[in-house]
Amino acid sequence: MNSSRLSRRGFLGRAAASVGSAAAAPYIIASTALGAEGRPAASERIVMGTIGIGGRGRGDMAAFLGNKDVEMAGVCDVQGARRKHAKATVDRHYGNTDCKAYIDIRDILARKDIDAVLIATGDNNHSMVSIEAARAGKDMYCEKPMSVAIAESRAVSDTMRRFSRIYQCGTQRRNVANFVFAAHLARSGKLGKLKAMHAEKAWPDSNVHFGVLPGQADPPREAVDWNGWLGPAMWRPYNPQYISRGYWLRHGDFSGGSICEWGSHTVDICQWANNADDTSPIEYRTINKNNDIEAIYANGVKLYIRKGLRFGSCPIRIEGEDGWVETGDSGRIEVYPKSLIAQRRFRGGYPQNDHVREFLNCVKSRKQPIAPAEGAHRSITTCHVANICVRLGRPVKWDPIKEEFPDDDEANRLRSRAYRHPWRL
């Protein structure tokens, strides 16, 4: 093995195989032993791959490349142009041509030297790729939303536990200061007993559609691996419009529409604020023609998934008996009483750098990160149940312990979708 490619995984494996006791060898080789100037030793680097490199994936990958203990060894995308661009980006970053490009996720996941993967595919493939990555022994940072159906994210969480993998959901606002501050106000009781929380959805209409477009001739696999793009979803003839984000984001086979698009962030922060990372609301109903949602947790706190909050994208508002807080991506925050805010100022934006860094630390320490699979599953479950409520056009009840709709066969069927060969949960 080339020493410059010696991975942390390789080191741990070798250490485990060759060292009889902890005292027989140093736990970590001194950085001066192997590290190039300004970079940690190879034994301390995390060898990574990126799967799915559209706009979001490029941003995430740049955040990972900004960490000197990351070595991006491969990129994978079903779209040729994105694949080539990503490889060029990584090669330019390292000043070499070592980065390998893959079409099929199974090929990049088969690489034994890769410790962890960044997953930023379309939403439809998030769960499937996460599960396959865990089966291959990788840790992962996976973009939101975690799943397209409740059963998928349940399976992701179970698989992470089963293989003791580190999973960080790309709900990076858990590491963005104004959101952290808002959640902390609620969690620490400074707002008093919580009454209601408001989570903004992405656009006014909550519906998803299941459109089928006229078929066209398949493009060359090098340009678009259509079967790979579809992943576990229903097969249909190729049409380039499917691949447009503006289309698939509202398509029920490929995403969860307005509620999941922003709710995966805003509902997630509200769940966190309500100390509800292990549950979901138990009753849901629509409250207007835009199918805004009112949901109620077992502790009586109400959650509204709606439009109309302030302060930029992905805003939230949390109301307690003694105060309230409202903030969003603009970084502006309003708090009542004002004394709770003190002298704090927030920059705004929704950078993922701290979230990425925390994930990398957890890969090394094996501690669970701030947005682990189980919590992310519960957040996105809340969004999915809300979507099911919209789709059925009636109120629904949810049992967060059994993870089922009590005495509601119709709703229960919508918890899952049969995976298309060769994928399985």
Binding site: G20, S21, D158, R162, L392
Partner: protein, 661 residues
């Protein structure tokens, strides 16, 4: 363009995209309300499935049947299972149906399918956890088609009955390659299922088997966590063995999962591992011991606080905040005084602030008094954060000491800890020779403690008494500034009187106090200063004071416009005009636009004026749409700022009646 604006733009494009969806998007997928209508709809869908309709139509019918399908549709769906093109969507409908007939249809299809369709059927049986399929699936684990064998093994894992687990045990022994990997995963899954059925012993056997070095690290680690989750003394034994063992990956997993281990003496046993570990692992274990909060681990943590490793020392000092007690105070104070780096010192400070225990405050106070001057401010801060009672006398002493940094810290703490009964002592400090150059913290402390007096009218009394006896100008100025902070009626009267003092410095202090008055009581006086003073500094202070007070006042809109209009007309400097314009933006009235409009052509303040006009126009778009529209149109036409034009354009669109398309 900010990230935030970009995000909103993307969302706007998505909103637009929804208008361009194809006609096929409008497929009804909600269920008919009554049973009869559902039955009719199901019959129609069955008809579609059994006709020569296109695959797309059959796919959509299956999608609908997933929600409304009853037993009647199962035969039609079953007939589709062997068809390579239709099989997946037939499973789409069948897989989530609770009917036993749906399971039977899938099981029956095993004999009618092959290749990918068979794999799909097996996967659906696994998803349903169909234990009745165990007998049919068991022989398939050795099917010649490896995809079929893999699917069967995975399905048996999900089914997870003892019988299925038995099959998997055999596969684990004999399988190679991909099948072996899936057998490991399926076994882990089955172990969880067995645990759920109360068959812990059988699950443990599986997990123990997967500890063998022949299995990949993630399988071993997953099985190890399974064993820990089983709980009991064995779990602690296993964790401790792994922590002391030679597999660094497993050690990290063991440490990370040790925070929830239960049992007598577990905390102590874990702590006993500390000095056997390399520094990086010690840091992880110290973190876990802190989370556990077991006092039995304290001696080892204290020992680690003297480690040669910077990281270990820092981690241990930080952990003592939760796990330490009063006996740790001296150690932590010493670290604050002599710590080798900022992280170490900060960890010690944090721990001193949160350390639990009755005698902690007393010990900390004693340590603070004995500490070198450079360490004392941090220790005083810790006392303040702890709201430590019985410390005021000592803090007053520190506030009168020779070290300015210590004095400042002491005054800051006194502001939080002192009570109204302590006010005379604090004011004596303020009027003492030290008070002459007293830091802002000294005045702030007196203000904070004065405001703790419940009777508002009495809040300034102690300071006023001192003012009456103060001979020196510097002291009087200091007391006047303090009165300004207290801000009650008596303080206002005293400061108003001081404006006529024969000493120019006292006059200056009075004006500064008035212009910085905490509420709108001083509005008239401040406007008066603005109108009459010839002192440039006082004029600027008065303008700023007026703008601030308008913002917090309950004046009528007209009164606010009068004041801000006057300030705007009389303001000479661009920053002052900008300040007034920014305040004007909060007045939702067309007259406010009229006031701001002339400044749209003034180069130095144009940007602020445009923002002001835009904000007012947005605020009055409902109450005064015509004026809002006119203002937005003007901005759209004249502004050189792209963002202003964008937002003005949006406002114009909002206010323009939509045309039929």
């Amino acid at each position: 363009m900010s990230q935030n604006v970009r995000h909103l733009r993307i969302t706007a494009r998505l909103c637009l995209a929804c208008l361009l969806l194809p006609a096929t998007a409008g497929i009804a997928l909600s269920a008919p309300a009554d049973a009869a209508a559902r039955g009719r709809r199901e019959a129609e869908l069955i008809k579609t499935l059994t006709s020569d309709a296109s695959q797309a139509r059959k796919d959509l019918a299956c999608r609908e049947l997933q929600v409304i399908g009853a037993r009647a549709c199962i035969d039609a769906l079953e007939a589709m299972l062997p068809d390579e093109k239709l099989s997946h969507m037939a499973r789409y409908a069948l897989e989530s149906m609770a009917y036993a007939e749906a399971g039977k249809a899938l099981r029956d299809a095993l004999g009618k399918t092959s290749g990918t369709t068979k794999v799909g059927v097996i996967t659906s049986l696994g998803f349903r956890r169909d234990s009745q399929a165990t007998a049919e699936l068991s022989p398939l684990v050795s099917d010649r088609d490896q995809d079929v064998a893999v699917a069967a093994v995975a399905a048996l894992g999900r089914i997870g009955t003892p019988a299925a687990a038995g099959v998997l045990a055999r596969v684990r022994k004999s399988a190679t390659g991909r099948l072996r990997a899936v057998a490991a995963e399926a076994s882990l899954t089955a172990a969880e299922q067995l645990t759920g059925r109360g068959r812990q012993a059988e699950a443990t056997v599986i997990w123990e088997g997967l500890q063998d070095a022949k299995w990949p690290a993630h399988v071993r680690q997953g099985a190890f966590v399974g064993l820990l989750s089983a709980g009991g003394d064995r779990a602690a034994d296993r964790a401790i063995a792994a922590i002391g063992g030679g597999d660094p990956g497993l050690r990290a997993v063991a440490i990370a999962n040790s925070s929830v281990l239960k049992g007598p003496g577990v905390g102590k046993r874990l702590a006993d591992q500390l000095d056997k570990l390399p520094p990086d692992a010690q840091v992880l274990l110290i973190d876990v011991l802190a989370q556990r909060g077991d006092p039995a681990a304290r001696p080892e943590i204290v020992r680690a606080a003297a480690s040669d490793s910077d990281r270990v020392r820092t981690a241990a000092l930080g952990a003592l905040g939760g796990i330490g007690n009063a006996t740790c105070v001296a150690l932590l104070c010493k670290a604050v005084a002599t710590g080798k780096n900022d992280a170490e010192r900060q960890a010690a400070i944090n721990s001193l602030q949160s350390l639990p225990g009755e005698k902690v405050n007393a010990n900390l106070l004693a340590c603070m008094i004995a500490a070198p001057a450079e360490a004392r401010p941090a220790l005083i801060d810790a006392l303040a954060v702890r709201q430590a009672p019985g410390t005021v006398n000592a803090l007053v002493e520190q506030a009168s000491g020779s070290d300015a940094t210590v004095r400042t810290a002491a005054f800051k703490a006194l502001g939080q800890l002192a009570t109204p009964g302590d006010l005379p002592a604090l004011v004596r400090l303020l009027v003492s020779p030290i008070g002459g150059d007293a830091p802002g913290e000294a005045k702030r402390a007196v203000v904070l403690v004065s405001r703790k007096i419940r009777d508002d009218s009495a809040q300034a009394d102690v300071v006023l008494a001192a003012l009456g006896e103060a001979p020196a100008t510097s002291i009087r100025c200091s007391l006047l500034q303090t009165l300004g902070g207290i801000g009650n009626a008596k303080a206002f009267a005293a400061i108003t009187a001081a404006r006529s003092d024969k000493d120019a410095d006292v006059q200056d202090a009075a004006i500064r106090a008035l212009t910085a008055w905490p509420d709108a009581r001083a509005m008239d006086a401040t406007i008066g200063i603005f109108r009459t003073t010839e002192n440039v500094v006082h004029r600027v202070l008065a303008l700023r004071g007026c703008v601030r007070m308008v913002g917090i006042s309950v004046l009528s809109t007209n009164a606010k416009l009068d004041i801000l209009g006057e300030l705007l007309r009389e303001a000479k400097r661009a920053p002052d005009k900008q300040l007034v314009l920014s305040s004007l933006a909060d007045v939702a009235d067309p007259a406010a636009i009229a006031l701001a409009k002339p400044y749209l052509s003034e180069t130095t303040v144009r940007g602020e004026a445009e923002l002001t006009v835009l904000a007012i126009a947005q605020a009055i778009k409902t109450s005064h749409p015509a004026q809002a529209n006119a203002a937005a149109q003007a901005l759209l036409k004249q502004s050189k700022d792209r963002m202003i034009r964008r937002d003005a354009g949006r406002l114009v669109r909002d206010l323009t009646p939509s045309q039929p398309r």
